[in-house]
């Protein structure tokens, strides 16, 4: 096991290096650069600026330069925000993390509960209703849900704020601040949970259905164990297994931010960085952010593999 983890961690480095090269050249090939996006520049001024930003060098030179910087622990300087990339990420990523982690806990819990209960009584009315709701939520774009929640809870009922993370001009400290942020989080959390719980519920249901038909579950039933014990002790453990892989995928999602939801609720998260920096062709940020997420992606997969092996001792890791 130890050797397995060590090997995989070491393998991360060449994978990441390959990824960074691929990512960099994809960005370099994207039509237009940071200077091209400004329509009112005179041709001479545009050339001057390209030289200032080093955009006049060939892509491979820029990549090596970037790599060299990275080796010194420097992710570079954002062209449009004019602050170090790490500072920029630090500014927004934690807000996204706060939102996403609460959402993660809630929707995994909810999906587990709904998926398992639906699987225990397949094709019942309850199961059908859940299925219908899940697919209804999937069939309409995110902004419909956001707008609907805002209309009901913020405008008509005035129970919750329309958007943002704190009330305008608020100077609250301590608990008052926590409560204020919590109130602003309710609607975005609700939206994201509703959107994401859908597919996970289906996975849990499918996986659980399989588990309930397993021999060990039959044996447990044959032994005359209580149905509840059968479901939650024997079947659930087996049913959870395939879904663990999905948990690994969540790691980068915790930091990447939800683009549409964050925008509609004015949540100051990292979601808009994707769009903004791509639109402006702000390469240092694009590279830094993508690489950060790449590390998390690979790490998430590794963790999932380890968790998988721990949860199911039958699996032999080589």
């Amino acid at each position: 096991m130890r050797q397995f983890i060590l090997r995989r961690v070491l393998l991360m480095f060449p994978t990441l290096l390959g990824a960074s090269a691929v990512i960099f050249f994809i960005f370099a090939l994207t039509p237009g650069d940071f200077v091209d996006g400004s329509i009112s520049l005179s041709p001479e001024r545009a050339l001057e600026l390209k030289a200032l930003y080093g955009l006049d060098h060939p892509a491979w030179q820029r990549y090596l330069h970037w790599l060299w910087q990275l080796a010194h622990g420097d992710l570079g300087f954002s062209l449009q925000y004019q602050i170090p990339v790490t500072e920029l990420l630090d500014r927004y990523v934690w807000n996204s993390f706060l939102l996403a982690s609460v959402v993660l806990v809630l929707y995994w819990g909810l999906s587990l509960l709904i998926g398992v209960t639906a699987a225990v009584r397949p094709h019942s009315w309850y199961d059908r209703l859940v299925t219908l709701l899940v697919f209804a939520a999937m069939s309409f774009p995110v902004f419909f849900l956001c707008l609907l929640l805002i209309k009901w809870f913020a405008v008509d009922l005035a129970w919750l704020p329309v958007g943002g993370m704190i009330a305008t001009g608020s100077e609250s400290r301590g608990w008052a601040h926590v409560l204020e942020v919590a109130a602003h989080m309710v609607l975005p959390v609700l939206t994201l949970v509703m959107l994401q719980a859908g597919s996970l519920t289906r996975y849990f249901r499918a996986s659980m259905l399989e588990a309930l038909a397993l021999d060990c579950v039959r044996t447990a039933r044959a032994k005359g164990l209580k149905e509840r014990t059968v479901v939650f002790k024997h079947a659930l453990r087996n049913g959870l297994l395939p879904v663990i892989t999905l948990l690994g995928f969540e790691l980068p999602g915790l930091f990447s931010g939800a683009i549409v939801t964050e925008k509609l609720f004015n949540w100051p998260g990292a979601g808009h960085i994707h769009i903004d920096t791509l639109a402006a062709r702000d390469y240092p940020v694009l590279m830094g952010f993508t690489l950060f997420l790449a590390v998390l992606t690979i790490l998430g997969n590794l963790l999932a593999d380890i968790a998988y092996a721990l949860a199911d001792p039958r699996i032999r890791i080589r």
């Binding site: 001024r45 600026l49 707008l147 209309k151 405008v155």
Partner: protein
């Protein structure tokens, strides 16, 4: 029977809508404001604020330096914090701000500014001609990468300083603490706004600055210091920017102690306004939004002309678009009135020249409006030798008249593409739309891989900005017309507004005869403010900035 009645009612309704559209076009130059019908319906959240005005902003990025920002929203923040030497009035004409007055020499080359007495930055330190000198010198730094292109002002010795051939700029001379003289080598209308911009403090920004190293100044973008109506307090990324009133503001301390820019997005700004979280915001202009705002009762609504406009650019490097008759046909053959009606619903008008209504230079008389006329378009194409082929698309020398149109995804193009496709098909032209993001559009345009490209101009303060790109030396699309070159240069070198207006009028007529672009639409801007605040008089050149010192909270 019922069916007939139904149809008639719809016809009537249709006539009304049509009437609205044409009426609005006729009154395009007029501005309007609607006062709140029932201020008592003010939401509690707004009522609870006693000492602060909350306005809205979209996406500031935190670079609060008037010469370093890369984004118009950051500019809006700096306008609150910094004051200009010279400002603009409601028609875009220069007016004194920090400068009490200025004189221009007879040859239009030498500017002498006289500052107001006892000017101070918001920290109480004096603002003098030396600060203006510092600002202009900083802009000539070889490492300066901001949006301001000072070289257009042609300050004497500026290029030498930038190239490192001189230690100071010979054209900038401080005569006394209240007087500064700027000598230029070329006369130009763009010079005054460039040299009369926001003033940076030498004491504050100079302490971290050595020529060739802007990083010190850059780090101060997060802690700006200026002489504007409000003083910067705090920026909470993604949330809001907070300010307090500047006691040293030249026109007196603003009556409302605090000001906040709250960040809002298109999808929910109406809801934020409705619940009282913001006091002022701008909205997409359409009947839905206006009705919604009116129904609130507590909204003061302002509708005014924007200074930008939308257009479709011809690529004149393509031989078939070199023919002026083809270009004219493409204008006659496009139903622009339909576009304006659908998108702006009566709050916009068909554009005819490179300046929007509301500018002092706007004068559509005698400029060919190219009213929709498909028959004329067909005749012109026939004359140009494009004959209708078997499938209805015109052909010349074996080449089909198929045109690619570069566009980005937005409401205007969502309407333009179907309308253009339909109306061009009717005159025998096939349209192939290509949608991409804006940066890619500009890259494709630069590479010349297009026939038509549609986009909107940025806000235009001076009419020169609208025609500058048609100069042979500047044009991306290969436009070349000696008469246009001559008039553009002459109009820019003339400082007398009356004479300039004549020259631009002449230029617009010439441009209409040999069109480099299809002007699509002028639009209006919809702004609303809460009835609890008085004094909002927004216009396109200043936004709400000139209103800030006059705002009052109504008791």
């Amino acid at each position: 029977m019922g069916g007939i009645r139904f149809a008639r009612r719809r016809l009537l309704l249709a006539a009304m809508v049509w009437g609205l559209g044409t009426m609005a076009a006729a009154q395009a130059a007029e501005e309007g404001s609607l006062r709140a019908s029932d201020p008592s319906r003010l939401p509690a959240a707004a009522r609870a604020r006693h000492d602060v005005v909350v306005s809205a902003i979209s996406e500031p990025q935190g670079i609060f330096n008037p010469y370093l920002f890369h984004n118009g929203w950051d500019e809006n923040v700096t306008q609150v914090i910094f004051a200009n030497l010279v400002g603009l009035d409601r028609q875009g004409r220069p007016v004194p701000q920090l400068a009490e007055s200025w004189q221009v020499s007879r040859d239009n080359l030498v500017y002498t500014f006289k500052l107001r007495p006892n000017l101070k930055f918001s920290d109480g330190s004096p603002l003098t001609a030396s600060d203006v000198e510092f600002t202009l010198t900083l802009l000539h730094d070889p490492k300066y990468d901001g949006e301001t292109d000072i070289s257009l002002a042609n300050i004497k010795g500026g290029a030498d300083y930038k190239a490192g051939r001189a230690g100071t700029i010979s054209g900038i001379k401080v005569l006394d603490p209240r007087t500064i003289r700027i000598t230029t080598t070329e006369a130009g209308a763009v010079t005054l706004p460039l040299i009369g911009g926001p003033v940076l403090s030498r004491a504050y920004y100079g302490k971290n600055y050595t020529p060739g190293h802007l990083d010190g100044v850059r780090t101060q973008s997060a802690r700006p210091l200026g002489a504007g109506p409000y003083v910067y307090d705090k920026y909470i990324p993604g949330q809001e920017v907070r300010f307090h009133a500047n006691p040293y503001y030249y026109a007196g301390k603003p009556p409302v102690p605090f000001f906040i820019y709250r960040i809002t997005s298109d999808a929910t700004k109406l809801q934020l306004f409705q619940t009282g979280e913001v006091d002022n915001d701008r909205f997409s202009i359409n009947k839905d939004n206006i009705e919604q705002l009116k129904s609130l009762g507590f909204a003061n609504i302002d509708i005014y002309n924007s200074s930008d406009y939308s257009l479709v650019e011809f690529n004149l490097k393509k031989p078939y678009l070199k023919d002026v008759r083809v270009r004219q046909a493409l204008i006659y053959g496009l139903d622009r009135q339909k576009l304006v009606d659908v998108v702006y619903q009566g709050y916009g008008s068909v554009a005819t020249e490179a300046v929007a209504p509301g500018s002092w230079a706007y004068d559509p008389s005698g400029v060919n409006p190219y009213a929709y006329n498909p028959a004329r378009a067909r005749t012109l194409l026939d004359q140009a030798g494009w004959k209708v082929g078997a499938d209805g698309i015109r052909v010349k020398d074996g080449q089909r008249l198929t045109l690619t149109l570069l566009a980005t995804r937005k409401l205007l193009t969502d309407a333009l593409i179907p309308i253009a496709k339909e109306s061009y098909k009717a005159i025998g032209v096939e349209l192939r739309p290509e949608v991409s993001d804006f940066n890619a559009l500009l890259a494709k345009r630069k590479a010349g891989h297009y026939d038509l490209a549609t986009f909107s101009t940025s806000l235009i303060n001076d009419p020169n900005e609208g025609v500058h790109d048609f100069l042979t030396s500047q044009s991306v699309n290969g436009y070349h017309n000696p008469q246009v070159d001559r008039l553009t240069v002459e109009a820019n070198a003339t400082l007398d507004l009356k004479r300039r207006k004549q020259l631009y009028h002449q230029l617009y007529q010439v441009l209409a005869g040999d069109p480099p672009v299809i002007y699509l639409a002028y639009r209006k801007v919809l702004s609303a403010s809460s009835a609890r605040i008085s004094g909002f008089t927004p216009d396109i050149y200043n936004g709400i900035i000139t209103s800030l010192p006059h705002l009052k909270i109504v008791k």
